[in-house]
């Protein structure tokens, strides 16, 4: 019954329509979550006292799973391009660096040097692993 109804919706294009809107909604919600998360790191308690971030995140995960299932049902496939990957990765690195930088601002200089050296070493090894996987 449900399967035949889904099939009808799929053929009429309604599911593709809903899926396209859901993906856009997800992108907006992830951006909103990132913004709220950043605000919470900068001003602890400012967001979490008023808004339950756990419920927000749980809703986001459930919505992502539902969208992924719908995408699989519709056979949607979007191969990520290298430029898109680069954009996402560089945005995340810039955001992460900013957030970590702010949290380390009052650390003594020697611990900053140690943390920086360790982070660079980890990044270097991760890069090697990542490049190896790509070449395989």
């Amino acid at each position: 019954m449900l399967h035949s109804r889904l099939k009808t919706w799929k053929e009429s294009g309604i599911l593709a329509f809903a899926y396209s809107l859901l993906v856009e909604l997800l992108m907006l919600l992830y951006l909103l979550f990132l913004g709220l998360f950043t605000l919470e790191i900068l001003l602890p308690g400012f967001v979490s006292v008023r808004i339950n971030m756990a419920i927000f995140l749980a809703t986001l995960i459930l919505l992502t799973m539902a969208t992924a299932m719908l995408g699989r049902f519709l056979g949607a496939h979007f191969p990520a391009t290298a430029s898109y990957e680069k954009l996402i990765l560089s945005t995340l690195i810039a955001w992460g660096t900013g957030i970590i930088g702010i949290s380390l601002i009052s650390f003594p200089w020697w611990s900053l040097a140690v943390l920086l050296a360790l982070s660079l070493a980890i990044l270097f090894f991760l890069r090697d692993i990542f490049l190896e996987e790509k070449s395989d």
């Binding site: 294009g13 593709a16 329509f17 899926y19 909604l25 907006l28 909103l32 308690g45 006292v49 008023r50």
Partner: protein, 386 residues
Amino acid sequence: MALLPLPPKLAKRYPFFRLALYIAVFAVVLFLAERSLFPVISYSFDFRNPDAHKNDLLDPRNQKGKLLENGRLAKGDTLFMNVGTSGVYDKVFFSLLPETEADAQEKAEIKIRHGYRAAWLPEGQAVTDFPAEELYVSTEDSLTTYYALREGTLYRFVSEDAFLSRFPKEKAKPIERNALAALPLSEKILGFRHGTLVAFADGIFLITDDEFMRPIGSARIFLSLGYRFEDVKQVNAEELGIYKRGKIFLSGDIHPSGTVFQNTDTGTYFLLDGGERHDLPPSAYRDLLLSQTAPILYSSIDSKKTASCIAEKKFPGRSLECTINLESLMNVTGNDYELAISNTENETDIRTATLAFATEKSRGNLLFILSQQKDLFLSRLGIIPK
């Protein structure tokens, strides 16, 4: 353009739905911003479940200070409760639900005051000198150890810093090894002066007595209690290890014994001890306390200011409600509010009492809240705002 190919009819409709989606998300963002900047924060107490954790109006008590386990109020009684909150509010909605229709009153007088709970405590005797202790110092093998002799038993101080948080060096008399060995040594180790703020790893703790330290809930709570990060003493694992971990210190909790306050109206000081305020006139002890920590500033005049309203029976139903204008209390220093419900009518039985703090949405309040958040952010970075 949609992600997947759509039939022409749906493709034509897609941009409108997309626009509606963006407008809806934008509206949600505005709603969240409004809720974050101008929150309505409710606190309540349910007398049917007086031990429930969700009761966040604290310590319901009568005018004699006796803690109440039920909501019964005789004629002429006043019910006091406290709440700790660090926001900026200019009004508070009060609501009271009587247990039954028979308990319903026509009206009740509601008063509220703002400040630090410590400033409303009863006054005790002035503290003019160091606590009476017999103190010794042993400097054997280049190791300096301090002791207190209590009822014939020696108590060792965990470190020199711990001793110096309570007494100056010259208060301790030198003692020889032989004399030390002749006295029984307690297993209990003495630590820092009560009320000392200490830091270990990434936590800040309050030494509340000789046995317990309590972690402070958050940077916001720390600042709202009037503490300064510069007054936090860095300690090691051994110094902190002598204490048991108490429950988390939250807004609404009363400052611990040993906390020093300064009245900005008179310039005088008081020391909190045993649930009482003790005047601290000029003395060597006061000098020692002030050399270690800045006092928490408060105004005795502002702390006594009250705002009030008459709660009246709401129709339909039996609850009593009113709104208190808090503008006159907005600039009072402190994170505590004290609520007083006076029963001027017959005996009653309260089921729940609720306070909902709110801020009027105005440009002035928005700027004030944003400036507070800026100060909080700067203090988090270690930059103390002017």
